[in-house]
Symmetry: C2
C-alpha cells in the first residue's frame, strides 16, 4: 500500500476528466426547464468526487479489452446512482450533513424538496442511460444485464437496504459479522456492481474470467468501506471534504470501533490480498485494475 | 360519462385482485431483512389504490391480443413507481400530507428516513422487474424499450420534473397553457407510459396501431389530472381517501381555478373525445380500453 506511481496518478486524472465530460454531456443542460432541478442535479454530480465506481468499471473494461467509449455510459449510470444516494443520505431525515465534497450539500445549497427530487431523477437517468445511450454495445441483452445488476445492487436487498440497517443500528452495538453484512449491502453492493457491470459489457464473457472478477469485487467492496471508516477516525475534515469523526459521534458500530485501528488495517490487507489473488487468471491485462485496488485501499480521502 | 356497466366493475375488481397478488409476490417478504423497510414497502404498495396505471396497461395489452401474464410484471413496475412518487410527495419537505388511501402516509406510519428509502427502493425494484421478471416476453429488446419508456416518463423531463415545477409554482398564477404543460409532466407522462409500455410488450407492433395508442394516451393523461383537480374541489375527504380542498389551500393553479368547474368539465369531455377517436384503428378489441377511459374520467375518487 505504497503511494501510487506517477503514471497511475496521470491515469486517474485522465479517467476523471473523461467522466466529468461524459457526465456533463448526459445531464440535462442547466437552462432547460425545470431549471432549478437541473441546476441542482448538475451541482450535485459535477465538479468533484473521486469517481471510484466509474474508475473501477473503466479499469475492468480495460482488463477485458473493451474500449472506454463502449462503457462510458455504464460508468455514468454508476456515478449518477452513487450521487443520488449521497444527496438522499445527506438530508435532515437521514444523516443531516451540511458538507459534501468540500461544498454545501444539495439541500443546503438548494432546498430539501429539490434535493429529494434530485436523487429521484438521478436514479431514473441512470436507468435511462443503460436503456438508451447510443455508446453502449449494440446488444439488447447487454443492456438488460446492466439494468438488472444496477437495480439489484441499489434496491432494498442492496444499497437502500444497507442504509436502512445502518439507520436502525445507530447507538446499538453490532458484532463484526453484522457490521460486515451491513457494509456488504450499503457500500459493497455498488462497488461490486461497478466491476460486474464492466464484465456485463462483454456480450459473452468466459465464465472463468467472470468468476475471477466476482472474487475480486466482493472483498474490494468491503475493504473500501473499512478504509472509509478508518479515514473517518484518522483524517480531518479539510482532507475528507466531509465532517470527520462523524461515525463515532453517531455511535455507529464500525471496524475501527470494534477491531481497533491496527486490527482494521490488518483486515483491509487480508481482503486486499484475497482480491488480488482472484485476479490472477486475467494476467497483465488487469494491471490497471490492480493499481485501482491499491489506490482505493491506500487513499487519504 | 355514465356510470360504468356492471360487467366492467367486475372486470376492474378482477384486475385489482390480480395486481394485489402480483405485487405481493414481487415485493420482498415482510420478515426479510431489513424488516422495517420491507414492511414499509408492503404497507405503501398493498391493500389499496385504484391501480389506474396497471389497469391502463392491462387494457392496452388486451387490445393488442397479449395475455395478462405477459404484461403483469410491467404493470407492477408502473404501480411501484407510482407509489414511490406518492410516498416521496407526501413527505414534510414536499406536500406534507398525513393521509393517503384512507390511511396514515408512510412517513407517519413509519418515519421520514424509512419513507425516503421506501421510495428509492420501489423505484429500483420497478427497473429490476423490467430487467429480470421471468413473466415478460422473452425478448431483450422488449425489456430495453420498457426500461427506456419508464425511465423517461419519471425523470427530470417527466414526473420528477413536473413535481419540481409544481413546487416552484405554488402561490403563483399560471396560465392554462403552463398548467397543462405541468400536468403533462407530473401525471401525464406516467399515464402515457402505461399505455405505451403495453404497446412496447408487442415485439414488432404495427406503426399505425402504435400511433393510435399514442394519440389516445396523451389526452387521457391530461384529462385524468383535470378530473383529479375537479375531485379535489368537489369531493370530500372521506370519499377521496386524502385531504380534499388541499390544492386551493396551497394556492395551486389548477383547471378549476382558471376555467371554473363547468369549463374544466368541458375540457375533460373534449380531451376524452379526442382520445377515443384516436382508438378507432383498433376496432372492437379496444373496447375494454375505452371502458377504462370512461371510468377514469367519470370517477368519484
Amino acid at each position: 500500500m505504497s503511494a501510487a506511481p506517477e503514471g497511475f496518478i496521470a491515469q486517474l486524472d485522465q479517467w476523471r476528466a473523461r467522466m466529468e465530460d461524459a457526465l456533463s454531456r448526459r445531464l440535462p443542460p442547466p437552462g432547460r426547464l425545470p431549471q432549478r432541478l437541473h441546476e441542482a442535479m448538475r451541482y450535485s454530480v459535477l465538479g468533484g468526487g473521486k469517481r471510484v465506481r466509474p474508475i473501477l468499471l473503466l479499469a475492468t473494461a480495460r482488463a477485458l479489452g473493451l474500449a472506454e467509449e463502449q462503457v462510458e455510459a455504464a460508468a455514468c449510470a454508476l456515478e449518477l446512482v452513487h450521487v443520488y444516494s449521497l444527496v438522499h443520505d445527506d438530508l435532515p431525515a437521514m444523516d443531516d450533513d451540511d458538507l459534501r465534497r468540500g461544498r454545501p450539500t444539495c439541500h443546503k445549497a438548494f432546498d430539501e424538496a429539490t434535493a429529494l427530487l434530485v436523487g429521484d431523477a438521478l436514479q431514473s437517468l441512470a436507468f435511462e442511460l443503460l436503456a438508451r445511450d447510443p455508446g453502449l454495445p449494440d446488444a439488447p441483452a447487454v443492456r438488460v444485464r446492466l439494468v438488472g445488476l444496477l437495480a439489484e445492487a441499489i434496491g432494498s436487498l442492496g444499497m437502500a437496504g444497507g442504509q436502512a440497517i445502518d439507520l436502525q443500528s445507530e447507538g446499538r452495538s453490532l458484532s463484526i459479522e453484522q457490521v460486515e453484512q451491513l457494509h456488504s449491502l450499503k457500500t459493497g453492493a455498488l462497488i461490486r456492481a461497478s466491476v460486474m457491470m464492466g464484465a456485463a459489457c462483454v456480450p459473452a464473457l468466459d465464465a472463468r474470467l467472470e468468476r475471477a472478477l466476482a472474487g475480486f469485487a466482493a472483498p474490494i467492496g468491503l475493504a473500501f468501506q473499512i478504509q472509509d471508516d478508518l479515514l473517518d477516525e484518522l483524517s480531518d475534515t479539510a482532507t475528507l471534504g466531509k465532517v470527520a469523526g462523524a461515525d463515532r459521534e453517531r455511535g455507529k458500530s464500525t471496524h475501527p470501533a470494534i477491531l481497533g485501528i491496527a486490527g482494521s488495517q490488518e483486515r483491509v490487507r487480508t481482503l486486499s490480498e484475497a482480491a488480488l489473488k482472484s485476479l490472477e487468471p486475467l494476467g497483465a491485462k488487469a494491471d490497471a485494475l490492480r493499481a485501482v485496488a491499491d489506490w482505493l485501499l491506500a487513499r487519504r480521502n
